[in-house]
């Protein structure tokens, strides 16, 4: 938290922190605006834009038609020509509707044009399950985006980061996806007033330990922290790292930690196969193989869509218990 101006700390929920971040951006950048489905009149279906229309007016906050491809195109075209748009895709699951705008236009324009285009666009979206919203409203698709050279992807796990990363994303001159987590919206913590940045591409060490490093993404950070408590009772001193940014990924912080702990586990809510965990695992083996005392472990969702049934969804989403079970199994504790 050193980068924050330590003004009077108040506890506010994640959802309010997002709004504060967006508000700071609108205050500081005259050529920024917010556009998305139900972001203006309704203040966002999750309430994370509440009051912004009233404060900044209809020239800064726009309700769009249900047209994700056009929304993303708005972000690309407007950012390439002098605006700093914040566009909203309500659920990350809807990203398929506009994937071409992202993958073939937004991500590649600068490169294809020989560096002649700059796209300072921020894309805000929500991911994650646990709310019985079934297969098309619960996914974690950050790996789809992180695979694309040309865009950045951050996944704030808490209210402090939610605000600081929104601001950092909007100040960045590249396209940045800020992937929030729906199930975390009500989680409160101390968040400074005013503008501050949480740097993109920098992981955070949430808990120091000496026996095992858990690298977690988004809400799984909290599960990892709970798992660390349980593992402590088994005599394992766990270090927990919040990846915060998956593209770019802070390999350095992770490698440094593993050179100390000699064991690594990566946990994310996304499907394990093809998830970011595979990439992180590979980087660890490439750069710290000689330091490893155990195979690199991964915990992620099984290879199936998110089930509606709350009973099945409970099994589907990784949690502290599944993390502990994985560690016990691999390390034969």
């Amino acid at each position: 938290m050193s980068e924050a101006k330590k003004q009077e700390a108040r506890k506010i929920p994640y959802v309010a922190a997002i709004k504060e971040g967006v508000r700071e951006v609108l205050l500081e950048q005259d050529n920024s605006f917010v556009a998305g489905e139900d972001v203006a009149g309704a203040g966002g279906v999750f309430g994370h834009y509440g009051g912004l229309l009233q404060e900044f007016g209809p020239d800064r906050v726009y309700d769009t038609p249900i047209s994700e491809k056009a929304i993303m195109g708005l972000g690309v075209g407007a950012s390439a020509t002098g605006c700093r748009p914040i566009v909203d895709i309500m659920f990350i699951d809807f990203i398929g509707e506009c994937m071409d705008e992202i993958a073939n236009q937004m991500a590649k324009m600068r490169y294809m044009f020989g560096g002649n285009a700059t796209l300072p666009v921020t894309i805000i979206t929500m991911s994650g399950g646990g709310l019985s919203m079934a297969a098309q409203h619960s996914q974690c698709l950050e790996a789809w985006l992180a695979h694309l050279p040309g865009v950045k992807v951050v996944c704030p796990s808490n209210a402090y980061d939610a605000k600081g990363m929104t601001i950092a994303a909007a100040r960045d001159d590249n396209p940045v996806f800020v992937v929030f987590n729906k199930a975390s919206l009500g989680m409160s913590m101390e968040v400074p007033e005013g503008a501050y940045e949480v740097p993109i591409g920098k992981a955070a060490i949430c808990r120091e330990g000496s026996d095992l490093t858990i690298v977690a993404i988004s809400r799984m950070v909290h599960e990892a922290m709970a798992a660390a408590d349980q593992l402590k009772d088994l005599g394992l001193d766990v270090e927990v790292i919040d990846a915060r940014s998956v593209q770019p990924f802070d390999t350095e912080t992770v490698i440094k930690s593993i050179k100390k702990t000699h064991r690594a586990l990566i946990v994310h809510e996304a499907v394990k196969f093809g998830g970011i965990g595979g990439e992180i695992s590979a980087q660890i083996q490439e750069q710290a193989f000689d330091y490893l005392d155990a195979p690199v472990m991964r915990v992620g969702a099984p290879f199936c869509p998110v089930p509606f049934s709350p009973v099945l969804e409970e099994i589907y989403i990784p949690n502290a218990d599944t993390i502990v079970a994985k560690v016990k199994d691999t390390l034969e504790l």
């Binding site: 489905e37 139900d38 019985s132």
Partner: protein, 385 residues
């Protein structure tokens, strides 16, 4: 060329009550005012083919008493299902969210009356009504809403993915605009397999702004597919009014651009829907290609759940004005006047259906949750199956 002329002609059938469509270069505020005015006055005229309320009681021309009773029953079944399900959601007994179809029953009933199980539909996030009208049974429906293994999808889909392929119901959909391309594909299949079956794609006014809808409509018209695009225009996409999401008043105006007939109908009048859908379906079955049928309607409750009044994005007066034109109440009045049913018979239908619902809910609650091993089942089918 002929296609285009036909489309124009059909579009001209649109009710006189609707002003001529705004020119493309219309100033937005004017268009908005017009839309707002149109929404405030729900009295929408319907297709030319719709007869005004018949005066004679016996010896009517048109649908049989049996058909009228079935239309009524379909609507009441939907209404009662939705009221019960909505209440359960509000009471926290149903996980996740329900999008209720209350107020829009006439559309599902009027369209589905023409279909067999071999005809398909694609539905929306507001999909229970479509399934009920397509012949969905209450027990597996409630069980699905509760995520139980006896549900239509074994508990894996829930409200937003409820489906039954045996009934030709290709699924509710969590993706707005997800249905039309699938419907077009099913209609292609109907033609390819040389059947006489049709596919209906239901979608909202909000969904009409998704590129997927335009692509599907264009291809359906090009291939002359037996596909009917039924736009359920309830004036809102979530909390955004039609005036704030498109610059046109009538979604059916777009039919000309696709090269298919566009028809506007009063979605609160089940007979009007029944007749307009009948024409479109008949044309499609006989190789005449797709139709865009826009039904002007209204959802009584909120986008999600049961709250209906006191919303900031619409006025209570607006809700009340539409409720006064309730499709079911109006149709019951008409059936009684026609002597098809009397009040007592009408009332007894509600009693019977509500009993059936009570039983279905009990059945659903008694049903088991899916077993853990089911989590990984049905991601793929077995090879050669």
């Amino acid at each position: 060329m002929a296609k285009k002329i036909k489309a124009k002609k059909q579009a001209a059938k649109a009710p006189a009550a609707k002003n001529k469509k705004p020119a493309a270069n219309n100033k937005k505020p004017a268009a908005k005012a017009k839309i707002a005015a149109a929404r405030k006055k729900p009295a929408v005229k319907t297709t030319a083919s719709r007869k005004s309320t018949p005066k004679k009681t016996r010896k009517r021309s048109g649908p049989s008493d049996q058909t009228l009773k079935e239309l009524h029953l379909k609507m009441v079944r939907i209404r009662c299902f939705e009221e019960a399900g909505g209440q359960m959601m509000e009471d926290g007994k149903i996980p996740g969210a329900l999008h209720l179809y209350v107020g829009e029953e006439a559309i599902a009933a009027g369209v589905m009356q023409h279909l067999s199980n071999e005809d398909q539909i694609t539905s929306t996030h507001r999909g229970h009504g479509h399934l009920v009208a397509k012949g969905g049974e209450f027990k597996p429906m409630f069980a699905e809403l509760l995520g139980r293994s006896t549900g239509y999808c074994g508990g894996k889909g829930g409200s937003m993915h409820i489906s039954n392929l045996e009934l030709g119901m290709l699924g509710a959909n969590g993706i707005v605009g997800g249905g039309p391309p699938i419907a077009m594909g099913a209609a292609f299949s109907n033609k390819f397999r040389k059947t006489k079956n049709v596919t209906i794609s239901f979608f909202g006014d909000g969904a009409s702004n998704e590129g997927s809808v335009h692509e599907a409509a264009n291809m359906a018209a090009l291939y002359k597919l037996p596909c009917i695009f039924v736009c359920e225009n309830n004036g809102y996409g979530e909390y955004t009014s039609q005036a704030n999401h498109q610059a046109i008043v009538d979604v059916a105006d777009r039919a000309a651009g696709y090269g298919m007939p566009g028809v506007i109908v009063d979605g609160m009048d089940v007979m009007a829907v029944y007749e307009a859908a009948g024409e479109a379906i008949e044309r499609a079955r006989n190789g005449g290609g797709p139709t865009l049928l826009e039904c002007k309607t209204y959802r009584y409750y909120d986008h999600v759940g049961m709250r209906g009044m006191g919303m900031s994005y619409r006025t209570d007066e607006e809700v009340e004005a539409w409720r006064k034109r309730d499709a079911i109440a109006g149709f019951e009045q008409r059936l009684i006047e026609l002597g098809v049913m009397n009040r007592k018979q009408v009332d007894s239908i509600y009693t019977r259906i509500n009993n059936e619902i009570e039983e279905a809910i009990a059945y659903a609650f008694d049903s088991p949750h899916p077993e853990p091993h089911e989590l990984l089942e049905n991601v793929y089918c077995e090879k050669g199956a």
